[in-house]
Symmetry: C2
Subunit: 379 residues, 2 copies
């Protein structure tokens, strides 16, 4: 069995455990200081060992993005779940099976016209389905504006249905991703917080329950000045971080815990570039650093210790190979990159890069693989 | 077991078999007319039923992009293989196991400095490894220019090694992807053809073997005026086609055989958009239509019969949800898109969208699922 970064088959994922733990600790400390419950979003790691590291530090309960995750984590004893994606009614039978097994799965309502189907399906399954309403504050993603007349009508319909239970609302600080810089993120966080509190007050004035106010985004949690009035954060990307998060100032490149192990397969000295065996499938086609001051192409090129090499980036990506070049066009020392030399690539967007792989190879700062942790992909 | 597009769990892949067969027939006829052998690249379908449909029509042998594909297809009796990615020497033990099982796996050399490791590893495994040299004609991707002094040195080194066998060269018409229009594709195809023939002549003048000249790209094969002097085409995307291929004129939208089944989860009438449960993970983040006259966002929105609905496109994609909007800003009839309505999304780049899923749900033009075909993902 391969046991070091020198003999693992490439391409594959490498996870730096000291960085992972540092990122987990930092967010746990921050949420403790803010006085907000942390319910981490496992859509990024999709792995039970990492879930346990999160739960060992302040986190109570988990957030999931697919029923495949929900079922996997329930089977591993994680029974307090928030399924934070607008619910398709035909998924309720699978959710009911989880509920009957002792798992709480809070679900999300986005559209008033979906509520009758939720009520009907939940009743047919003999369960009471807990729901929060997806409240759109910044028009960044899904949800209904609290000022929309349908908002209260929807809340009343959920509250009135015997097979449904209104638990509260969710908000998302998605536009923090359009706002580089921690000051801009903090200002947006405050806007989202205020929007969530206003929606809560609307419900309470009508005598409707609102015990759960879930707030999303890692940078929005880390840089918020206050999250008063919200009950929990479902920050997700922070255990791994990535180049996008570094680009908006939410972390440094040294915080990025996830990388793709690859090797050189050939060079083109006349074109001042070389090729690696991690292509668009292994790295993902996410180009979210494209608008940043440091556009990393398809990833930042590091040595086997995870240290960036000059300003080398993945300049282009085919399906199974990619080219590496200097961002500034510095001449490369081709002798330093012979075929077979192994490298690690830091990802633009760790959620998407991780999703291209089945497992993590965990290292403790060195080259030895200390553990192999499986992911739960698909739906 | 779900048997129609109305009850399959979403998101998932739908494959239109009549379109698939039409695309296969069209390329087979074209290669027959060109007098070139077809060795289709299975990096797109990664599926054995589709491989058999290809082999039933003119194709002889297959091309693969990963050893996972090579092993899977060998296990299903497909023993004539070209592994068309620059070879990492440490993969030779897996290849040797295939060779010992009776499979021919022609591999690719890109860098002269890799040849000693190839020779050493192949000798250690007791096999003779067939190699072609990756020849770079248009600087679009990997390979060595035939004019580079290392080209002939590399060919001689391969020919001289008892554990290696020089089979010929490969070329790739990758820049046809930068050249919209069939005339531009045809002009580029001729340039690549001529480059391949020139490289062959160089080898033959030195008394070196060059029996295989593999030529790549679906549009470059379909629109080439002649492929004289080349021995085979490894066209790959044509069985499925996609919006990128339609955008460069290599097919029409009606030829696209692959789609993602999804459903509406909520609407935002004030923002003139609605949301579906196929996000960036189900659609891929490939944005290759971004530079085209018709930028399809993350995909083109169709009804359950696969017909485009107005000018609806996937405008933005989060991990598990995406927003749908009219490209031209036409007001949407929200009543036509209630929660639960099912839709099919045509992909920008079918290789990447397919790779996000484990299997195909095959339909024969209607809504009934006639077959479920498994993919072989990973490495």
């Amino acid at each position: 069995m391969p046991t070091t970064l020198h003999d693992l088959p490439t391409p594959c994922l490498v996870l730096d455990r000291p960085r992972l733990q540092r990122n987990i600790d930092r967010m746990a400390d921050r949420c403790a200081a803010l006085g907000i419950r942390l319910r981490p979003h496992l859509k990024t790691p999709k792995n039970v060992e990492i879930a346990r590291l999160l739960l060992a530090r302040q986190a109570r309960g988990i957030t999931v993005s697919t029923l495949a995750e929900a079922e996997h984590f329930a089977a591993h004893g994680l029974h307090d779940q928030f399924y934070a994606v607008p619910l398709a009614a035909d998924r309720i039978p699978r959710i009911a099976a989880l509920v009957r097994g002792g798992t709480t799965v809070v679900c999300v309502a986005h559209d008033a016209d979906a509520v009758p189907a939720y009520a009907h399906r939940a009743a047919a399954e003999g369960i009471v389905l807990p729901l929060v309403i997806d409240v759109d504050v910044d028009h960044h993603r899904s949800g209904i504006a609290a000022g929309d007349p349908d908002f209260l009508a929807m809340a009343r319909a959920i509250h009135a249905a015997p097979s449904l239970a209104l638990r509260g609302i969710m908000v998302y600080a998605g536009a923090s991703y359009d706002a580089p810089g921690t000051e801009a993120i903090a200002a947006l966080a405050e806007r989202i917080r205020a929007g969530g509190v206003a929606a809560r007050d609307l419900l309470r004035r009508e005598g409707l329950p609102c015990d759960m106010i879930s707030y999303g985004s890692s940078p929005g949690t880390f840089f918020a000045r206050s999250l008063e009035g919200l009950t929990e954060s479902r920050a997700g990307v922070y255990p791994f971080q990535d180049l996008f998060q570094a680009g908006i100032g939410a972390c440094t490149v040294d915080d990025v815990a996830l990388s793709v192990l690859t090797q050189v397969t050939g060079r083109q000295p006349a074109l001042n570039r070389f090729f690696i065996d991690a292509g668009g499938l292994a790295l993902s086609k996410d180009r979210s650093t494209a608008g940043h001051a440091f556009d990393a192409g398809y990833g930042l090129v590091c040595d086997l210790d995870g240290r960036p090499i000059g300003d080398l980036v993945v300049a282009s990506a085919s399906q199974e190979i990619a080219s590496v070049a200097s961002r500034s066009g510095q001449p490369l020392d081709m002798a330093a990159f012979p075929p077979g030399r192994r490298l690690r690539i830091l990802p633009n967007h760790s959620c998407f890069t991780a999703a291209a792989h089945e497992r993590y190879h965990v290292v403790d700062g060195g080259h030895a693989v200390a553990a192999v942790w499986e992911r739960v992909n698909g739906w």
